[in-house]
Every structure is written in C-alpha cells, then in structure tokens.
C-alpha cells in the first residue's frame, strides 16, 4: 500500500464515520414524532417517487424556468454519483477497482458521459450562482453562506475533475482520452508543462477532488442540501391522497392534544422539515405571505427543523424542550400570528416540489393553542360558542335555518323515499345573500325532477371551521352528531352546496366511519344537463364572465372542469380565466376559519383576488362557494367596483338559463 492510499484511507474513514454519525444524530430525531402510516400501497409510492423525485415533476412545473436547471443538476448528480463512487473506491483499491477494467465499450461510454455531464453540472452551478447573485426572486433567501458553500464545493469538484483528467491526458495516462472532449481540451492548456510538474498538478487536483467530495459529504447533513438525502424518500412517503383533511385525535383523560412541542408532530412532519429545499415556492404562492401577513410557509417548515435540531437531544433524554415551538421571537419558533394567518388554501402543498404538507402542521399547532391553552384571537370565542350552542357561526337561532324553504318548494328528507339529502350548510341557509344560491339550486333540482329533501331546521353545521381552526374536540362532536343524524335518517347520497361542507362530509367524516356518496351541486347539475334531465331553455346572459376556483373544490378535490363546462353550457361561452387558476389558484381569503377573523395585518386577500380579476375587465365573477361569494362581493365593494362587476354563484347562472 502506498503512502497516498494509506492517508486517503484514513481521511476516507474519518469522513464516512463523521457523515454516518451526523446522519444518525439527525435522522434518529425523526423517530420522536407521532406514528403515521406511510408505507401502505407500496406500488403507488414507488410510482410517486419516480414521478416526483426522479421525474422532478413539480420542480419543472409552472412558472419556474429555473426548475429545469435543477432538473439538469439532479440528473448530473445521479450520474456523477457513479463516477464519484468509482473515484473513492479507486482511491482505496487502485489495483482492483478502476473504470478502465470495464469492457472497453462501456468504459469509453462512461468516460464520455462523465466528461460531458461534469460540464453540464458546472454550467448549472454557474447559472445557479448567477441567479442567486443577480436574478434572485424575493421568495428565496438568495445570498446565504450555506448556498454558496455548496455551490462552491460542487464547482470545485467539477474543476478538479477536469484538471485531474486534463493533466492525466497530458501525461498520456488516460486510456479513454479520445472519449473525454472537455478533459482533452483542458489537457491542451497543460500542454507546455514539464512531466514532473504535470504529475504534481495531477496529484494536487486528485486531493482537491477528494477533499471537495468528502467535504461535501460531511457538510450535507448540516446544510439545506440535506434534501439531497431526504427528498427522494420524502416523495416515497408523500401522501398518496390529496392532503384535504387532518388526523383525528383521541379524547381520553391524560391525553395531550395538538402540537405544542415539535415531538407532537407526526414523524413525517419532521421528515418533511428535513426535506425542504428552501426553494420558497410555497411562500411565492401563499395568499397570506403575498398580502403582508406574518406567515411565511417556507419559514414554518424551516423553524420546525431548527426546533427539532435544537430540542431533539433534550426530548430524547426525556427532558422538556428549551426552545418553544410556538411563540416566535427566535429562529426555530413560530409566531402565533403566523399560525392564525393561514387560510388552509393548500397552494403551498400543491407547488412544493418535494410534497411537504404545510396545512396539517399549522392545524396541529392551532390545536395546541385552542385545546391545550385556550389561546386564540378574540373573534373566535363567540364563533366556538355559537358553533357549540347553536351549530352555526353567527349564533343565529337554529329554527331560522329553514326560513329559505318558504321561498321555494323544498321538500323534507324522507327515509327510504328521498334519494338525495340537500345539505345547504350554514351560509346557504342563514346568510341572506347566499340563500339566493340555495333557492336557485332548489329550483334547478325541482326542474330536473330530482328526488331530494333537506333536514330543514334540524340541519347542523358541518364543523369545517372548527376543525381547520384547531378545535378538534368541538369538530369531533359535531362530526359524530351529524353522521349519526344522517345515518339514522337513512341518507345515502348528499348534495352539498358549500365546498367546505363538501370536503368535510366527503373526506373528514370518512375518518369517523361515514360512507356517503357526496356530490357538489356544480357536479350534479352538469350531470343533469348532460343526461338530458335538465333542459336549458335559453342562454344565460351575464356579460363577460371570469371564473374563480374555490380552493376546497379545486385544489382539495380536483373539481376544476365541471364548473367551467357548466358555465359554457349555461352561457354558450367558455369563461375567461384568471392568471392564477386551477391548481395554482389564489384563495379568496375565507378558508381555514379566516372567514370569522379580522384581517388587520397587511392588505386584504380578497382585494388582491378581485384586483386580479379586474385585469380581464369582466362583467361577472362566477364562483362555486358561498364564502367566495361573500369575499368577492366585499372585495368589489372595497375597490368600488361593485356597480360594474357582479358576483354570481354558478347555480344562479344556470337558473337564468332554465327560466
């Protein structure tokens, strides 16, 4: 064994042990989280991993051209992983392991690939550095030491690669020189050096390469580039279904509720925090962050990671954490205002390239505030009491729920006779403006001869706001009561007017043993038209219509096309589209219980949204959700456009076409 090999073997061993020790230190902390089953449906998980990690599906999606730079980076990295593994083992066992020992064809092919890919990687690094220096978008923290250390190490690695092989070629030691165009070019630069110097150059760059590579390895677990290790498994563990619900809690004496400490998150939430690439796309799409609120979803994930790293050791030893998860003021602690600012719109989760789930984490922290500390914005006290005592957000007398029935011919739901329960929801039955949609739906159902009925004054709030606001205890009771009532009444199919109720009855109630066939009125009405049961007598005229996606219908449940088709059927024309639409639509500001809270910080989300709509100069904004109706109308009033532009619920539009 030569001295070089011995020294390298020692350096290699130290680096690898340090790397493994660092990984153990960090990854063992993930086990502190609560259980969460993420190994079911393995086939689908492998598919997700191929699609999202190896296919980089979300990295290159949407309006992020630099995503392609990452795509190049990612694949260069994977390919060079082979080259670098060979480098390390060749360094350890120079006589046994070497590329040149492979069959000639393969050897030449690999030499060519490694050479070209190294150049691509170098170009990608240069682009990335330039972006950070000169074209940095505001949603990333561009000029961090961490980023430049990593980019610097990669650049060093590539330069060392070419210099090493270049000098080797110049020395005539490289058998595959003809297959290494870039290294050969570098060799021409070394052409005039004497052989001894060349040998030294080669030796120096060999060690530079070795140190850059092992340095990179050792630095990884301490950097945001930890995602290199975690993002592929994170795409495997990603939620297979849409993240449109949160885990229920078990209410039993001595239990703890919500995530007031980092170890009260699920293990996957902790793993998520390790997988964040800090790309900032979540923040770029967040309605709260975009309107000057305290919330920055990227930082929420970052703070969870910092908190775990800070407290992990103590928690492992059974001691209390030092750094509080909720409270703010320090890196690793999240401000309450940030936690309350989330509309649970899901835009962050939709764009996150590594499928991090922000909303459940925020809801679990809300649970701690509400359930363990009874600490929440003042406005929510009456909301919770109203939901609990009168089963509606306003505290209106429950008997008022059936008032709208007087306006239309609305039958009661009858066991074994009625096919559909029409669940109107609180806004649909109690809010003056939104009762108009409910009446429109009732008239449409009657016109199509659908067998339907309501619970009238006995209908109860679905509990969506309670759940999203972290009052799981209240939600749990409301959900069970509703399910019991619906099951006792023999309900099988439910038409829901409000997307929040739709999502709750369809997805949340499943966790409580419900199994109803749930349909949103936009879906059902389209079916009725397509099957010829509902005749459109004329074209509804509402001028130029622009469509706004509801988060809970679109992103949460994938209903994008039905309302658009419905508008086209009712008016004869496809609606105009917003800049931000479908999967990357922008929230109206009402979800996540924000409907019942003041919006004092920054500018108003609904104003941002109607302003966006106004760019297309519409006559009508068409929506599919009573909350959206309220938010859009309020927004138009605020920007003094309510004379010119009207808000219409899709059912009202269809009603115009059947008159």
């Amino acid at each position: 064994m030569t001295a070089q090999v011995t020294i390298f073997a020692i350096v290699f061993a130290v680096a690898v042990i340090f790397f493994l020790w660092s990984c153990w230190q960090r990854f063992s902390l993930v086990a502190l989280g609560l259980p969460d089953n993420r190994i079911d449906r393995i086939g689908l998980r492998i598919w997700n991993m191929l699609l999202y990690a190896f296919g980089q599906k979300r990295v290159v999606a949407g309006k992020y051209p630099f995503g392609w730079n990452h795509f190049v980076f990612f694949w260069c990295f994977l390919i060079l992983l082979i080259a670098n593994t060979e480098f390390l083992f060749h360094g350890l066992f120079p006589d046994i392991i070497a590329l040149s020992k492979l069959p000639e064809g393969l050897y030449h092919a690999l030499a060519l690939i490694f050479d070209v890919v190294s150049l691509l990687a170098l170009i990608a690094v240069i682009i990335a550095i330039s972006r950070r220096l000169w074209f940095a978008p505001k949603y990333i923290e561009a000029k961090t030491v961490d980023a430049f250390v990593i980019l610097g190490l990669v650049a060093t690695l590539m330069i060392a690669f070419f210099s090493l092989h270049g000098s080797g070629i110049a020395l005539g030691e490289e058998a595959a020189a003809a297959w290494m165009p870039i290294s050969s070019f570098v060799a021409t630069l070394f052409r005039d050096l004497p052989a001894v110097t060349l040998a030294n150059v080669k030796l120096i760059f060999w060690w530079v390469h070795a140190f850059a590579l092992l340095g990179f390895l050792c630095y990884l677990p301490y950097s945001k580039h930890m995602h290199i290790l975690t993002s592929i498994p994170n795409c495997f563990f990603k939620s297979i279904d849409k993240v449109n619900t949160q885990t229920p809690e078990v209410f039993k004496k001595d239990n703890v509720y919500g995530a007031g400490r980092v170890d009260r998150m699920r293990w996957k939430d902790l793993f998520d925090s390790y997988s964040c690439t800090e790309c900032g796309r979540c923040t770029d799409n967040c309605p709260a962050a975009n309107t000057g609120k305290e919330l920055n979803p990227r930082l929420v994930i970052h703070d969870i990671k910092i908190n775990l790293l800070h407290n992990g050791k103590l928690i492992k030893q059974g001691k209390a954490p030092e750094l509080s998860l909720i409270g703010g003021g320090k890196e690793g602690s999240i401000k309450e205002d940030a936690i309350w600012a989330c509309t649970t719109c899901g835009a962050c989760m939709e764009v996150c390239p590594v499928s991090i789930e922000h909303v459940p984490k925020l809801v679990y922290m809300r649970r701690d505030l509400v359930e363990m500390q009874a600490k929440f914005p003042d406005e929510l006290l009456s909301l919770f009491e109203n939901l609990e005592n009168r089963s509606n957000p306003w505290g209106i007398i429950p008997a008022e729920r059936s008032r709208w029935v007087a306006e239309v011919n609305a039958p009661s739901f009858e066991k074994d006779k009625t096919e559909y329960l029409f669940y109107t929801g609180c806004a649909g039955s109690l809010d003056t403006r939104n009762k108009r949609n409910t009446e429109a739906i009732a008239r449409i159902l009657n016109a199509a001869g659908v067998s339907w009925g309501t619970f009238g004054k006995d209908e109860k709030c679905c509990g969506d706001s309670a759940r999203r606001l972290g009052n799981e205890y209240l939600f749990d009771r409301m959900a069970r009561e509703n399910i019991r009532m619906m099951q006792e009444a023999g309900v099988k199919k439910i038409i829901v007017e409000c997307p929040h109720g739709y999502n709750t009855i369809k997805n949340d109630y499943k966790q409580f043993g419900a199994d109803f066939e749930v349909i949103h009125h936009a879906e059902l009405i389209l079916q009725l038209i397509e099957s010829g049961k509902l005749q459109l007598k004329n074209k509804a005229d509402a001028g130029k219509i622009i469509f706004h996606d509801s988060c809970y219908l679109g992103r949460y449940n994938g209903i994008f096309d039905q309302p658009r088709k419905l508008i086209e059927k009712a008016t004869g024309k496809a609606p105009m589209e917003m800049d931000r639409r479908r999967e990357t639509s922008f929230c109206c500001g009402a979800g996540g219980g924000r409907m019942w809270m003041e919006e004092t910080e920054g500018t108003r989300i609904n104003i941002a949204r109607v302003t966006e709509a106004m760019k297309s100069d519409p006559d009508t904004i068409c929506v599919c959700c009573p909350y959206c109706v309220t938010m859009m109308e309020d927004g138009l009033t605020d920007i003094k456009a309510s004379d010119k532009v009207k808000v219409i619920e899709i059912s009202e539009l269809v009603e115009k076409a059947i008159k």
Binding site: K253, D254, E371, M372, D378, N389, I397, A399, Y473
Partner: protein
C-alpha cells in the same frame, strides 16, 4: 380565603316563546345556558384566583339538570362546586332564592372564610337584579353593584377597590371584606375551557346540598318563603313592522329619504 360565585342556569331566552294561551314560557327543546352575566362573574373570580390565589367555589340553586352548568365551571378552573337542589326550594322568588344562597354561603364560610361573593348583575330570564343585593343584605356584606372593573384587592388591609358604571358616571368605591360584587358584562372576556379540563369535568362529581344538608326552615324557602308570586306572563302586543322599498332600493340615500318622508307623514318628526 375563598370567593363564592353564584351562577344560574337559564333557558336561552332568545329562543324562548311565551304560550299566549297559558301565559307560561314554552321551554321544551330550548337549550339551557349559563346566565351570560354569571359567565363574567365566574371569569372575574378566576382572574382573582390567578392573581391573588383565592379558592373559588361556584354555587347554583336549581333543578338537578343545572349540574351541567357547574360542571362547565369546573372545566374553566373553579376549585369546588355545589348544587343547591331540592323540590322544596322550587318556585322561589328573589327573596327565597337569596335566603337559600346566603345560607349556603354561610355554611361555606364555616369551612373556609368567604371574603367575596361574585354575582352577575342580573339574569336574562328573571331580570330582577335583586338576588345579589338580597344575599348581601341577608349576610350583612358590603354590596358593590354594576361593577365593570376591579381596580385592586388589598389582602393585607382586607379591602377591595372597584369601579361601578352608572348612567353618565363612574364611581370608584373602596370596600372592606366581606363584600358582594355584582358585575356587568363589560368587566372581562370569559375564557374558553381547555380540552383536558373539559374531560376532567365530565367525570367530576358535583356536590348536591338538599334541605337535609341545609336544614332551612320551610317558611323561608321555595314557594312558601316567597313574598311575591307571578300572576301572568304575556308579550305585549306589537304592531307589525314594515319594510320600505326592500331589495328594490339599493341606494342608501334613497332609502333614508323614504324613511324620513314616512316619519314626517306620520307626524313623528318634522323638518321645522
């Protein structure tokens, strides 16, 4: 030293209707709630507990179903609750009610000195605002009514300073212990129970004192001990309201003009 807070379970009166024939309240299916004023009295006593370390006992006279209200008080952090319940207490007016409550407070005082009694200013069903002062009179306590702020408690000198809100003025009053304080709703914002406390309160065994425990003279309690009796309850006739213009009038100025013209035509206002 302890604080006793008197809380009453009342029907949610906004949902109560009066049976026009029988002249009685239709209570069926109407949910019961804690008298809203008493929720504030409870909160204030809990704040005094947090600040000065008093023990807090909540008491209520009512039917066995009033236990729920006391259980909720436990969930909010009250130390001890007692339900005063016996058929013979039934039908009480404010005099008999305050007799029973005062006797219970006296009994509690024997175990641990009662320095403050907190009541709501009034209930939303009886509305008399007499029970608090009645208790103070029977016990010979100082009485501080319409309190909207507690300024200070001086444990050493055994005094309390409060602010009372009256029509057009505030009064800052200083009183020695023991005192009865009847609070307004502005005094605070009640807290919300945490889930562990709620679950704990569900298994909590509420102490019930009937007249075997209270040993009160039958002439002082219930119907017999009442100085007044209800003869009739009725809703006064109210003329039907009228909607001017309705949805057709979008312009607020136009609506205001219609209203003013209407009022002038009825000679209710004049522009001179």
């Amino acid at each position: 030293m302890q604080i006793v807070t008197c809380i009453k379970q009342v029907p949610d009166t906004t949902q109560v209707k009066i049976d026009p024939v029988k002249g009685t309240l239709i209570r069926e299916g109407v949910p019961s709630i804690i008298n809203p004023f008493d929720a504030h009295a409870l909160e204030e006593s809990l704040r005094l507990k947090d600040k000065y370390g008093f023990k807090v006992t909540a008491i209520s006279m009512g039917p066995p179903s009033a236990e729920v209200t006391l259980r909720n008080a436990i969930a909010l952090g009250v130390d001890n609750v007692i339900l005063l319940s016996d058929r013979v207490f039934g039908g009480a007016d404010t005099l008999a009610t305050s007799m029973v409550l005062a006797t219970a407070i006296k009994k509690l005082n024997e175990e641990d000195e009662v320095v403050l009694v907190l009541c709501g200013k009034q209930t939303i069903d009886g509305d008399t605002a007499q029970v608090g002062p009645g208790i103070a009179t029977r016990l010979k306590y100082q009485q501080l009514t319409s309190v909207d702020h507690i300024e200070n408690v001086d444990l050493k000198n055994r005094t309390i300073t409060v602010r009372c809100k009256f029509e057009g003025r505030y009064e800052i009053l200083n009183s020695c212990f023991p005192a009865m304080i009847a609070v307004l709703r502005e005094i605070n914002r009640p807290r919300y129970p945490t889930v562990p406390m709620r679950l704990m309160s569900q298994d909590y065994k509420v102490t019930v004192w009937d007249n075997k425990v209270m040993q009160m003279n039958e002439n002082e309690i219930g119907l017999k001990g009442s100085a007044t009796a209800v003869r009739r309850i009725f809703s006064p006739d109210r003329a039907m309201g009228q909607i001017l213009g309705g949805d057709d009038v979008q312009d607020p100025e136009e609506a205001a003009r219609m209203l003013i013209n209407k009022l002038i035509s009825k000679n209710l206002i004049s522009l001179q």
